[in-house]
Amino acid sequence: MNLKASYKYVMYDNKRALLIYSLIIILVTVLLCTVSISWSNGNNTSQIGGMEIASMIFIFVAGLTSFKDNFHMLMQNSVSRKGTFAATILGFVTTSGILSAISIVVILITKLMSQIEKNIISESFFETMYPVHVNKVNSILVLLESFMLYFVMMLAIVGIGYLIGVIFYRLNKGGKVALAIGIPVFFSVFMPVVDVLAFGGRITLWLIRFMDFIFGATAQNPYMAVISFMVIFLISGLLSWVAMRKAPLKA
């Protein structure tokens, strides 16, 4: 299996977007901190945080759009579907690792700024989700756990994006339109209406409880989230493989 060349190609495809995104996110963080320092003027407080969400959106889009071009280029170079899949997964692991590391760098920058200017409050996504847990452990462990959580969250998100990309590729024109319209309509119109009219809001309540469970928010246990997102990544990966293992080349 020409895994090395395939992996290098998959990463080459991501490299430029990843570099531009990383520079922008670090620059935006520095800019926000600078504006907050000058605006605080010793009295006003400002809160900076949640930049990790931007990385998660970035990696979702990367997963969504990566299938077709990579599949075509690797097919042109006689790489099997299993080779393509293995290189893609390795690429996702690398990209998720890099983006998680960048998220930690961004958190460190905002923490540093909050040390310089006391009116700046820096709170990461991890700290917002697990305030009780964060108070119990030291700051190094918080950073390590944050990295671990962001890493598996990004893997799960890119896995879901990739799965949608593969399904889209395999559908015919009508199926693509139905899926593109059907999913947003189902979640934003159909489900809320049915939930209110037929279930008295119990579906929404169940969804909230489910999200709470997979994040381990009430239990204040980030490892529940790590396991949950790892499972989501494995399931989305498995489904992607099932969808692509017999994928014909559409050109």
Partner: protein, 287 residues
């Protein structure tokens, strides 16, 4: 069994039977012409052999090993497809660079040399190339990979006469220096007939001819001369078709060359394209 062996391959798209129990061998170091009309099943066959599509039934092997999803077997094959699969924004030079990453035997020096012969700009992005130059990019890449089996699907699409001629000359040159198996799928039969050694004709998803070119051409002949003399000569013969030019008539006749040819008539080799037209029309009529 060495070479590529296709056994009982069938593939259908809905109610359309693209391939019907196709069996064929492509042996080492030979130039094949895969000839067929539009929609005959040429591209489907090549796409299945190169693992791009899956057959409904049947099997393709290379040196006895199944090709499907087999990276080792696939590394001995390259397919220049009609559609361009390189990323739109990739530059010509980068296409060569990446192909070399997947095919270590890729001859970069040769690629640059023939790209220059075709006046292909190495700095251009793939999506800025015209149809003809898009074909040239694919051709140059396919000619430089140096693998035992190279498939060319409509290789001269959009190329002018000079570049088509250049491609055929380069193919023969390359083959003479270092033999390999080239399978050229085309419907430009006249042009390719000077290059190929073996003919595979496909019609409506079935192989209707699989023979050396010489053997096919020996199954008929062309006779030229004054119209009245030709008409008299062919009156009891199986005539595929004829052309008229002024008072001269050329008839394409099936069968062995007769001994008693009048002196005012000239006998030459059969024309592959005429043979092809007859064969594919015959199938249509018999159906």
């Amino acid at each position: 069994m060495s070479g590529i062996e296709v056994r009982n391959l069938s593939k259908s798209y809905g109610s359309t039977q693209a391939l019907n129990q196709v069996s064929i061998n492509f042996v080492e170091n030979r130039i094949y012409g895969l000839l067929g009309r539009n929609g005959a099943g040429k591209t489907t066959l090549l796409n299945i052999i190169t693992n791009r599509l899956f057959a409904d039934s049947g099997e393709v092997t290379l040196d006895g090993k199944v090709i499907q999803e087999n990276d080792i077997a696939l590394s001995k094959i390259y397919m220049m497809s009609e559609k361009c699969l390189f990323p739109e924004k990739m530059r010509v030079r980068d296409v060569f660079k990446w192909t070399a990453a997947f095919y270590p035997q890729f001859d970069m020096e040769y690629a640059f040399a023939i790209a220059s012969k075709f006046e292909l700009d190495l700095k251009k992005k793939r999506d800025s190339l015209s149809t003809g130059y898009g074909s040239i990019l694919k051709l140059v890449t396919a000619m430089s990979v140096n693998v035992p089996y190279v498939f060319f699907d409509e290789p001269v699409l959009g190329l002018d006469a000079n570049y088509r001629d250049l491609f055929y000359r380069l193919l023969i040159e390359k083959y003479s220096e270092k033999p390999f198996t080239a399978i050229v799928s085309t419907h430009l039969i006249d042009e390719v007939s000077s290059v190929i050694e073996h003919v595979v004709m496909i019609d409506k998803g079935r192989i209707i001819k699989d023979e050396p070119l010489e053997s096919i051409l020996s199954q008929g002949y062309t006779i030229t001369g004054p119209a009245s003399a030709v008409d008299l000569f062919i009156s009891d013969k199986d005539v595929m078709s004829y052309d008229m030019l002024g008072g001269l008539k050329t008839a394409y006749v099936s069968g062995k060359v007769p001994q008693d040819v009048p002196q005012n008539l000239e006998i030459t080799k059969m024309d592959l394209q005429k043979m092809f037209i007859k064969m594919t029309n015959e199938k249509e009529v018999s159906k």
